[in-house]
């Protein structure tokens, strides 16, 4: 470990591990002060928005779901809802419930992967989940089984786990019978118990004191914990319909990232994802999830990003609980999709991907051919918040040995469960002391 003789230090992580995609981190320190933090995303841009032009809006969900293997449902949901918004199609009743159900599946599988395999090793001082599995096989077995329960929902309703094929504009290609859906119940009851255990277990992990005054942004719905619908709200009074998103949120290119940085008008950074959702929708959680959160020592508002692992666990519990409710109340709809007439239009949508709000806008012609598309994934919106956290975190921990500081910086990044593949667009950590 290098000591303070040099005035300038650099912490570099060339390739961040336990994140989806390729990226790095570069922290520059001078005289004990952090002078620069860059979350470097160098996964090549993927040009999905351009690729969509000329394609029919009805096939768009099959294309956008390719943006991510972990959260394809989020892309499919934002896509079909944007198209439906343009066409004036409203999907209600059991079809709407089924869409919530498949989203529950995605939250369960994505959150279980992050909580158990990607994030937990940071708290227990293991290099990775494999090392952790050698000492705590029962934890990893539970995590993997929980993830499987989420995948099962997606496989069942979506036709397959990755890049599902059953979702379409207006609803689904095929709706399940009540009897077949009930087959998911037993596994989900196990999953709900396992999720409850997960909340209790994560609540006991060691958390550094790191409360931040974040600007949280999430969807909020009149009665539900948000998945597919709601207004975009913040903890500082923002309350807008989704169609106004681009009036207040903008994207800019920065040199060190192939993912565009998002900002909210008159603010620097904002925070999307489980913590934001939870803080803005605590009262919309199911009683079981709310009680588990309080019993775990969380309050209605949590400002410590390290505790996002507990909040993610609460959301797994909520998703299991909600999935069971939907299944219990399910009756097979007469038709698997709502009829619609194709016409020219522009539509917007925002849904709650596991990592936060995912905005889409499509404009298409009379035949449904896409003229232009805009997609803003959650990780690109969180980039500034991640950098800002590092700017706060590093000075407080500057006396840590180099290797330890580097590990903790990576943990700060992983608090956000960044999906770099999604935001472009990968991760590697450089800390430079100049």
């Amino acid at each position: 470990m290098k000591k303070k003789s040099a005035k300038t230090r650099t912490i570099r992580v060339d390739a961040l591990t336990r994140v989806e995609g390729e990226g790095g981190l570069h922290v520059k320190i001078r005289d004990g002060k952090v002078i620069d933090v860059k979350l470097k995303i160098f996964e090549p841009p993927r040009f999905f928005e351009a690729l969509l032009r000329g394609r029919n809006c009805e096939e768009a969900a099959g294309i956008t779901s390719r943006i991510c293997g972990i959260c394809p449902i989020a892309y499919q949901m934002s896509t079909v809802h944007a198209v439906e918004d343009a066409l004036g199609v409203r999907v209600d009743g059991q079809l709407r419930a089924l869409r919530r159900l498949i989203y529950c599946g995605e939250w369960i599988e994505s959150h279980a992967l992050h909580v158990y395999l990607l994030h937990a090793p940071d708290f227990l001082d293991y290099d990775d989940a494999i090392q952790m599995a050698q000492e705590h096989p029962e934890l990893l077995q539970r995590g993997l089984k929980l993830k499987k329960a989420g995948n099962e929902i997606i496989r069942f309703l979506g036709g397959r786990e990755i890049h599902p094929i059953n979702i379409r504009v207006g609803g689904f290609y095929k709706a399940p019978s009540r009897k077949s859906l009930l087959a998911l119940e037993e596994q989900l009851k196990w999953a709900r118990e396992a999720a409850l255990e997960t909340v209790r277990w994560t609540a006991g992990l060691p958390f550094p004191e790191f409360e931040q005054d974040f600007l949280f942004v999430a969807l909020r719905h009149e009665t539900e914990y948000p998945f597919n619908e709601g207004r975009i709200v913040s903890n500082r009074g923002l309350d807008i319909p989704v169609r106004d998103y681009e009036q207040l949120f903008s994207e800019e290119h920065v040199e060190h990232s192939t993912a565009l940085h998002s900002s909210l008008k008159d603010h620097d950074s904002y925070f999307v994802g489980p913590l934001a959702r939870y803080n803005l929708n605590f009262d919309r959680l199911s009683p079981m999830a709310r009680e588990a959160a309080l019993a775990a020592g969380l309050r209605a508002v949590c400002r410590n990003p390290f505790q996002s692992i507990v909040v993610r666990s609460v959301e797994i519990l909520y998703a299991c609980d909600e999935a069971l409710r939907i299944i219990e109340e399910y009756e097979m709809p007469e038709k698997p999709a709502v009829d619609f007439v194709m016409k020219a239009g522009t539509g917007t949508s925002c849904t709650e991907a596991p990592r936060g709000i995912l905005y889409h806008r499509f404009r298409f012609d009379d035949h449904g051919a896409i003229l232009d598309a805009k997609i803003v994934p959650p990780t690109s919106q969180n980039q500034k918040a991640i950098e800002s956290d590092l700017l706060q975190f590093v000075p407080r921990n500057i006396s840590l040995p180099e290797e330890e500081l580097r590990r903790r910086c990576e943990q700060v990044v992983r608090n956000y469960d960044p999906c770099i593949s999604c935001s472009t667009h990968f991760l590697k950590l450089h800390v430079e002391h100049v």
């Binding site: 336990r18 293997g69 395999l117 599995a133 993997l144 499987k148 995948n151 496989r155 990755i162």
Partner: protein, 192 residues
């Protein structure tokens, strides 16, 4: 069994979807990769060709290579062959063979995946949890082009028929209990 395999095929990312029997006597062949990332698709291309052979003792699946998906896919199989693209600085089109049930895959080989939890991690996780198939052979094909939208490189394309033969031959040996497969790893003629 072959009917199930055919269903598993059709461009699916995952298992055959039918309820799994307690254990399979057939060899499971898993092709890994992203079909839209040039040489990364070679595992799936090989798997598709093996499927077309329609051998009753072979089950074929394709996967994006996400680790938890792999753990689930091979959970009930005693003998598994995985085919994936690798990037180790070797000559493009070169074929590596590893006996992953005996030892860890070289770390550098997992780099061509953008997954946080990929093949290398899945193998070691399965080993830690005592869930590793009794025999797990990995064929790695050296690629050079992994960017989105790119095509298979000529060298990798040329290697495909050879790898298909390697897989079929490996499966034949795995199914012949009295003939032990050659352990360890090799880079020549599939270690045959």
């Amino acid at each position: 069994m072959p009917k199930n395999s055919a269903r598993a095929g059709k461009g699916t990312q995952s298992s055959d979807g039918s309820p799994k029997p307690a254990a399979h006597s057939a060899v499971l062949v898993i092709g890994l990769g992203n079909p839209f990332r040039g040489d990364d698709s070679v595992g799936r291309i090989v798997a598709a060709r093996v499927r077309r052979r329609n051998r009753p003792h072979l089950r074929v699946a394709e996967s994006s290579g996400e680790g938890a998906d792999l753990l689930e896919l091979w959970a009930d199989s005693g003998a598994v062959i995985v085919v994936d693209a690798v990037e180790s600085g070797g000559k493009t089109g070169m074929v590596h063979r590893f006996e992953a049930s005996q030892r860890a895959l070289p770390v550098r080989f997992s780099n061509s995946s953008t997954h946080a939890f990929g093949l290398g991690e899945a193998v070691e996780m399965a080993r830690a949890l005592n869930q590793l198939p009794q025999r797990l052979i990995v064929f790695g094909i050296e690629g050079r082009r992994f960017d989105v939208g790119s095509k298979l490189s000529a060298e990798v394309k040329k290697a495909v028929p050879h790898v298909v033969e390697c897989v079929v031959e490996e499966a034949r040996r795995l199914l012949a209990p009295q003939v032990p497969g050659s352990p360890g790893s090799s880079t020549s003629a599939c270690g045959a």
